[in-house]
């Protein structure tokens, strides 16, 4: 028996709450609060109250242990039918886009008719852990049966054991922060301070212009008094950014500042996907087709490759599978973890040695038309609540492609901690 040929999966809309800076207006909001708000806004806009969807896939990178069923809890707190299934995924900053791949794949296979992919992260309402020594002693104390066990357990705790730890943006295997990793890669690729600041200024200016023309009106629900991304500085300029002191890397050649690196933020996003039939039944116009996705990982642990360079490997595999070249796109959405991430990736694709030796290609992928890159701003301006970024980008790009018209194409590239990268192709409908 031959399997039925897969059908298409449509992006039907998206919603997010504005992203807030760490300890800003969402300081007291939990991941569940924020994801529920993003979900509910999407449900309200598309008239899905009481509807049983195929599934909702969400997740957060930084999660409290009590939030084991974060996405399911958010569904139960929304107006969706409680019979809608849900699960959590965690793939660092790639979470949101990976979720869109998962939902679209199930739609393509006919396993579900509709679904929501999203993600959320808070850098404010972070879990606090006790020191590892104290944790082990407390667990032992908890197992104690007799008063003597308890007394022994309590007495075993030393003042030095008492300490708290918060999650850090550090790679467990290298001890280097993401910024420190990126600084090494930026130096290897010779990315200048000026080029980074230019990209950062463009991100702010593009995002501000998108707000000005009302682009986000049907992609956002205001939350806790915030109606726009808090990190956005419409008056950002290369001159202003040039005044900032480097924070990552060392010495004279340090180039990475707080202005050309994404700040810690809080926020949530969600994207509605469905089959063509389901969309028609619900009178929801198709914005874009979710064509394909690919994930790559690199060995960053031994310094072989840069931590955030995996998308450089994922994209050529995705292009080859779909018979496309890097130049076949109307829009490029390359997540701005750092300005230097975007620039290193672009430079790698233009580099003969990298493309032939590392990617095994015959020739470089070549340059892209930079006027098509992150045209409505990206993470440097909007902020980057880790798992929420994928949903932000998919919804934004789908709308841009819909405006551009059928057959237009967009490429998404998102780097992630752990040396992974998630990329995808969308096509306008």
């Amino acid at each position: 028996m031959t399997p039925a040929s897969p059908r298409r999966a449509a992006v039907l809309g998206g919603n997010r709450i504005p992203f807030a800076r760490q300890f800003g207006p969402y300081a007291k909001a939990s991941n569940q609060d924020m994801f529920t708000a993003a979900l509910e806004g999407l449900v309200a806009r598309h008239g899905l109250a009481g509807e049983r969807l195929g599934e909702v896939v969400g997740g957060a990178v930084i999660k409290h242990s009590r939030d084991f069923n974060l996405t399911r809890e958010a569904v139960l707190g929304s107006s969706l039918a409680p019979q809608t299934t849900a699960y959590d995924v965690q793939q660092a900053c790639g979470t949101g886009l990976e979720n869109a791949i998962l939902v679209s794949n199930k739609i393509k296979l006919g396993q579900i008719e509709s679904g929501i992919a999203g993600g959320v992260d808070t850098s404010s309402d972070a879990p606090i852990m006790v020191s590892e020594k104290l944790r082990r002693k407390l667990l032992r104390l908890n197992r104690g049966r007799t008063t003597l066990d308890m007394a022994k357990g309590v007495l075993a705790i030393r003042p030095g054991d008492i300490g708290i730890e918060t999650p850090a943006n550090t790679e467990p295997r290298t001890g280097l922060s993401m910024g420190e990793h990126m600084a090494i890669t930026a130096k290897k690729w010779g990315i200048t301070r000026e080029a980074q600041d230019q990209l950062a200024a463009a991100s702010h200016q593009n995002l501000a212009a998108a707000y000005d023309r009302g682009f986000f009106d049907d992609l956002m629900t205001s939350y806790l008094g915030l109606a726009k991304d808090q990190n956005l500085r419409p008056d950002s300029s290369v001159e202003k950014l040039a005044a900032l002191r480097p924070v990552f890397g060392k010495g004279e050649n340090a180039t990475m500042t707080a202005g050309n690196s994404t700040p810690l933020t809080d926020g949530a996003s969600a994207v509605l996907l469905g089959s063509e039939e389901w969309a028609a039944e619900h009178h929801l116009p198709v914005q874009a087709w979710f064509v394909d996705g690919e994930v790559a990982a690199v060995d960053y642990v031994h310094g072989d490759e840069g931590l955030l360079m995996a998308p450089a490997y994922a994209v050529p595999r995705l292009l080859a599978r779909n018979g496309l070249t890097l130049q076949d796109f109307d829009y490029y959405e390359i997540h701005e973890a750092f300005a230097s991430t975007v620039l290193s990736t672009l430079k790698a694709w233009e580099d003969e040695e990298f493309c032939t030796e590392r990617l095994g290609l015959e020739k470089p992928l070549g340059p892209i038309d930079r006027s098509r890159l992150n045209v409505n701003g990206s993470s440097l301006a909007a902020g980057h609540p880790f798992a929420a970024t994928g949903g932000r980008i998919v919804a934004t790009l789908a709308k841009m492609l819909h405006e551009k018209g059928p057959g237009s194409r967009g490429l998404i590239s998102i780097c992630a901690a752990g040396g992974q990268g998630v990329v995808a192709i969308l096509e306008g409908a």
Binding site: A29, D33, T36, A37, E40, G77, Y223, L224, G225
Partner: protein
């Protein structure tokens, strides 16, 4: 013509309670013809968030079904604490509450709240009065509440009772909640209702209760919070308060959605015969 008194800030309940506690005996058969208004109230988002969390509502920009009651309550107490009010404030028991939400109110709406008393009447166990709260946004009525209070005393056995409460749903609990001993203090911090019967076992004992009791409006808000989002949009709820919930304690939530009206109830988890409240909810 009723007179209107406008407040820019809600009166402090602590002061009203103290004043009422030392006030002399009250009598009379007429209600003050005064309307108390809290004008141009801007929602305090921090307080809203604390309230949403404490009552189990979603933490977002929609005001919970019961939230405007919080704004009207200080005006109710102010009115009932005055010498012109015929019933004594200490000992008034909140026995029923109805709320109608006409449209979803958001945290960015600027709200006017008006409170008046009406329908003073005999009851088999004393006398009852309704405190009516109307909330509006830019002149548009968006929410109304009717809180019925009973002053226990010489009743009139022939007096008419109000609408009959449905019976508490039976069967297995939908949920079981452990209520902490400091719940009354937590709710007092958010609501401003510092009635001593809710704060501590000692102050509650002084008022004749064995332990502190949960605020009735917390219990009904918590039940509505558990019923999901349907109640923040157009809807009407009617709650009948029965026996108070002693703190700390465990309660069972029961929900019956089989009839035309959703019926929910709270009963003691340990002694199921002890019923705390019955509530109906009608949504558009």
């Amino acid at each position: 013509m009723p007179s209107t008194e406008t407040f820019r800030e809600a009166p402090s309940l602590a002061r009203v309670f103290v004043r009422a506690a030392v006030a002399g005996k009250k009598s009379g058969t007429t209600l003050p013809d005064t309307e108390l208004v809290l004008a141009g109230h801007e929602v305090d988002r921090g307080r809203l968030m604390d309230y949403q969390r404490l009552c189990g509502f979603a933490v977002d920009d929609a005001l919970p079904h019961t939230y405007p009651h919080l704004l009207g309550f200080p005006l109710q107490v102010e009115l009932m604490g005055r010498s012109s009010f015929p019933l004594p404030l200490p000992g008034l028991v909140h026995v029923e509450n109805t709320i109608t939400v006409r449209r979803t109110i958001t945290a960015s709406d600027v709200i006017d709240v008006a409170v008046h008393a009406e329908h003073l009447r005999d009851h088999p166990r004393g006398r009852q009065v309704d405190l009516v709260t109307e909330a509006s946004v830019e002149g548009e009525p968006v929410w109304s509440g009717r809180s019925t209070y009973l002053a226990r005393g010489k009743g009139n056995p022939d007096a008419q009772r109000g609408a009959e409460a449905p019976s508490l749903p039976r069967g297995f609990p939908a949920a079981q909640w452990s209520l902490p001993g400091d719940l009354g203090r937590q709710y007092a911090a958010v609501s401003g209702d510092v009635n001593p019967i809710h704060l501590h076992a000692l102050t509650a004992r002084a008022m004749g209760f064995p332990r502190a009791i949960a605020h009735g409006m917390w219990t009904s808000a918590r039940v509505l919070g558990a019923l999901g989002r349907r109640a923040s949009g157009p809807s009407t709820s009617h709650v009948w308060f029965r026996k108070p919930v002693l703190l700390p304690g465990r309660v069972d939530l029961l929900v019956d959605r089989s009839g035309p009206l959703l019926v929910a109830g709270l009963r003691s988890a340990r002694t199921p015969e002890v019923e705390h409240l019955v509530l109906t909810l009608e949504t558009a």
